[in-house]
């Protein structure tokens, strides 16, 4: 690489970082003050670029004033959308258990996506170039877009403005105070509700601005929400939660590393060919993993800058009452004899539900008793599935043995990644699990000759004795039920009790001789094995697997199931898995805009049952006597 190309690539990195910083800054602000993990932040970005497209097409093709006014108007419009969302939806659920708001914003993602499709149509919409900035200037003899120079300036400009707002206004003082200690703000007699609304609207407007500024660079399209949200999360976490300068630094770091990877292209080291260009598939997650392993609170985050959620502690766990045990046994028996009574498809659907129930229960074990929220649980599901598939296809083992070996592969993955993961806590921990999951995903995605690459692996059918739907149904039912019962038992066992103790009070656990990390590490690995079993069954029920079994969407599905059912219950994840899978199946078949309907139903469930469905039932009908 020559100096000139190096400099140009640095500038490319800076330009790329600008919008990313705006989105991340908004996300960071919102998280800092309200503790909401705003999954819909990418959707705000997407709506921003769509609105800006419409406005600039009308007013911004010829006039610079019209263009920039359109961009600002789009940001304001998205801010207004954020305002409405906060008041109508989020305000109702601040008291819900940790992360529950994530579920609401997930519903929002689905609704916004379908609404965008309905309003703007399916085609990509490439907006106009910015008037007056259409061309390129020559830098070291190479052309560089004028607009990108403006973008490079906008990042620090917005950073400066945010600094002024946060340090020189009363609003800013409150925001900073709330980021450090929410209760203090309440004690100061400040109207917390309006502070939250204001911050949420400001964060949304920043995301909208980030989107609007991209109009001259990329088309508005319907995948932007998902692409942007994962990038933005990475930036926020790498920078340190709640730190705006940290987000700026992280956006620059990731933007530069990406640009340099592209600039380096294919490089050979002593006979080894390394494609840095292909590395861009996953480089931000590698950066995040390294940063978090070295600095568990991000680049500029503060240790302990993530106070515990103020939600109520869950009530003591109790084994099922006699009549509930009887009901569960009855349900199990009914499921066993079900194949006689129904058509084949009910069995197919139930197999999916059993597999996802086990997946969700295993995730819940980490999130609930383990106190470790995982955003990358799909890694272990997928490792189990790939482990089994590869053992069958490449080593010629029979499926029966892979039911044992597949989960062991996942367990080994959990053992490896868990060692790093348990050194962190809270959202940082969750994001490190995501980073590892993405790294595993990218390996499966890239390693064409071994894992089948993006196409995946096919021809994974169970042996003859399991070939019939009802036989496979029975095996899946039995394995999943046994695994779920075992996990449930584990919660009550000394190991589970010690985990819960470590979650409730690490200080006390340490003071009574418990090595909390070690137990968390074992739990992480063990749970990997359980998720792996779900993955193995999934692979053989579908006959094929692809990198999607490892992808973010799978992890998110797991989270949604757990939260939908209720984090603070043990049966919740089973109910959540059943409800989500069934709902999706039913709605997708019946209506065209099924995604919006599904999102809407999730939002309604969130508002109606802020403790999750099972949490609600328990709270309503089985009140604890204390």
């Amino acid at each position: 690489m020559t100096l000139a190309t190096f400099v140009i690539q640095l500038l490319n990195g800076l330009a790329g970082a600008s919008s990313l910083f705006l989105v991340a800054a908004g996300l960071s602000l919102i998280f800092g003050v309200t503790r909401i993990v705003n999954f819909a932040h990418g959707s705000f970005f997407m709506v921003g670029i769509y609105i800006a497209y419409t406005l600039t097409e009308s007013f911004g093709r010829g006039s610079a004033l019209g263009f920039w006014a359109s961009v600002l108007a789009a940001a304001v419009a998205v801010g207004a959308l954020g305002f409405v969302v906060e008041i109508l939806l989020l305000r109702r659920i601040y008291k819900a258990p940790e992360l529950f708001q994530l579920l609401a914003t997930f519903g929002l993602v689905l609704v916004i996506k379908d609404a965008t499709l309905a309003i703007w149509g399916p085609e990509d919409l490439l907006g106009p170039r910015a008037p007056g900035l259409r061309g390129a200037v020559s830098i070291l003899g190479r052309p560089f877009p004028e607009y990108d120079l403006v973008l490079i300036a906008i990042g620090p400009l917005v950073l400066g403005l945010l600094w002024l707002v946060l340090n020189r206004t009363r609003f800013g003082v409150l925001v900073r105070a709330a980021t450090q200690d929410r209760d203090m703000v309440a004690a100061l007699g400040v109207n917390q509700a309006w502070l939250f609304t204001g911050v949420f609207a400001l964060g949304a407007a920043l995301a909208g601005l980030g989107g609007a500024l991209q109009v001259p660079r990329e088309p508005a399209q319907l995948f932007l929400d998902i692409t942007v949200i994962s990038d933005a999360f990475v930036v926020v976490v790498v920078g340190g939660l709640g730190s705006i300068p940290g987000a700026f630094l992280a956006a620059l770091l990731i933007g530069e590393i990406k640009a340099l990877c592209i600039g380096l292209g294919d490089v050979s080291f002593g006979g080894f060919e390394i494609s840095f260009s292909k590395l861009t598939l996953v480089v931000e997650f590698i950066v995040m993993a390294i940063v978090l392993v070295v600095r568990p609170w991000g680049l500029l985050g503060r240790p302990g800058g993530e106070p515990r959620h103020a939600a109520a502690t869950e009530p003591p766990l109790r084994p099922l009452h006699g009549y509930l045990k009887l009901a569960a046994a009855g349900l199990g028996a009914a499921l066993l004899v079900l194949p006689v009574a129904t058509d084949g498809y009910v069995l197919v659907l139930l197999i999916d539900i059993f597999v996802f129930a086990l997946f969700a229960v295993s995730l819940h074990f980490l999130m609930g008793p383990g106190g470790m929220v995982s955003f990358g649980h799909a890694a272990y599901f997928g490792l189990g599935a790939y482990g089994a598939a590869l053992l069958v296809l490449r080593a010629g083992l029979p499926m029966e043995t892979t039911i044992v070996l597949g989960p062991l592969v996942a367990l080994a993955g959990g053992l490896l990644f868990g060692w790093f993961v348990v050194r962190l806590s809270g959202v940082y921990l969750a994001m490190l699990t995501l980073a590892f999951a993405q790294i595993v995903w990218s390996v499966a995605f890239q390693w064409d000759s071994f894992t089948g690459g993006s196409n995946g692996l096919i021809g994974l059918w169970p042996p003859a004795w399991l070939a019939s739907k009802s036989a496979f149904y029975h095996v899946t039912l039995i394995l999943c039920v046994v695994a779920i019962v075992a996990l449930r038992h584990l919660v009550f066992a000394p190991f589970g009790a010690v985990l819960r103790a470590g979650r409730d009070s690490p200080l006390r656990a340490d003071a009574i001789g418990i090595d909390v990390r070690r137990h968390q590490w074992f739990a992480f690995a063990l749970i990997g094995g359980f998720a792996g079993l779900a993955g193995v069954l999934h692979a053989f029920s579908k006959g094929s697997i692809s990198p999607e079994t490892l992808a973010i969407a799978r992890s998110v599905d797991g989270l949604v199931m757990v939260l939908l059912g209720g984090v603070q219950t043990l049966t919740g994840p089973v109910v959540g898995a059943a409800v989500l899978t069934w709902l999706q199946d039913e709605i997708a078949r019946r209506v065209e805009f099924w995604r919006a309907i599904l999102g809407g139903v999730i939002i309604l469930l969130v508002i109606a049952f802020p403790q999750g469905i099972v949490g609600f039932i328990r709270g309503r009908f089985m009140r604890e006597v204390t």
């Binding site: 502690t313 003591p316 009550f492 190991f495 409730d504 656990a509 009574i512 074992f522």
Partner: protein
């Protein structure tokens, strides 16, 4: 018999000496109170004893064994129980389960996968709760306990590994005066019977002079007095520290 022997303990934070060359000893069956005005270094001193902070210099010996450099959980295994200034209990568990977890840890069965935790060491847990007067609350969630009851639960948990030494950081902070007296009487009774050594910090001088066998006084990181209550009360340097600032014995 000397249970805890501290010699030349020192710790500075960024050049500011928080504790400088403190030495003292605690005998089995005795209650030693560590007092001093705010910022005297009590908490720093305390945290070095239980392994949360590493001292810059000095030695801490438990029954003659050096424990500097060990982690809190390792020190606990050597027979050191502790209670916290702000109680730390397992809120999502019942009172009995809180004690059972400590017993499970004591018996090194934390990796047990088969039995139910709530069935393990149930009788021992109940006996411990009975000793601190919490037997009737065994089934309640720790999260809903009154503050005084939480302190007593912590004491039961701290006693679960039949400790040689109890470290109690402000055991009566946040309690009503009558409760304080009751709690310290309870502690004093238990340690005398079982021969446990106790080191506690305390703001309430009534509690200190009523229950401590010996008192050591810290001021600006230095030990300025060490003796039985009457000696300490009469020590002019102690009076200077407490009275010189216009405060009386009481809330220091």
């Amino acid at each position: 018999m000397t249970v805890l022997q501290v010699e030349g303990l020192a710790k500075s934070f960024g050049g500011v000496a928080a504790v400088q060359g403190v030495s003292f000893a605690v005998e089995a069956g005795h209650l030693l109170a560590l007092i001093g005005p705010n910022g005297a270094g009590k908490t720093t001193c305390f945290n070095m004893l239980n392994g949360q902070l590493a001292p810059d210099r000095g030695s801490v010996r438990l029954d003659g064994r050096e424990i500097v450099g060990l982690k809190p959980r390792q020190i606990w295994r050597l027979g050191v129980g502790r209670t916290f200034q702000i109680t730390a209990t397992f809120g999502s568990m019942t009172v009995r389960e809180n004690v059972q977890v400590a017993l499970i840890s004591h018996h090194r069965r934390t990796l047990g996968l088969w039995p139910r935790a709530r069935d393990l060491y149930r009788a021992e847990a109940e006996a411990l709760l009975a000793r601190v007067g919490m037997a009737d609350q065994a089934e309640r969630a720790a999260a809903v306990l009154a503050y005084g009851d939480l302190k007593r639960l912590e004491l039961a948990v701290a006693l679960a590994n039949t400790p040689r030494l109890l470290l109690m950081d402000e055991p009566t902070a946040g309690m009503a005066p009558r409760e304080r007296v009751e709690l310290m009487a309870l502690v004093a009774g238990i340690v005398r019977v079982e021969g446990i050594a106790v080191l506690f910090t305390e703001h309430d001088m009534d509690v200190v002079f009523a229950h401590a066998d010996r008192i050591i006084v810290l001021n600006r990181g230095e030990l300025i007095a060490d003796g039985v209550p009457a000696q300490v009360r009469a020590d002019p340097r102690v009076q200077q520290v407490y009275l010189g600032g216009g405060t009386t014995f009481g809330h220091g």
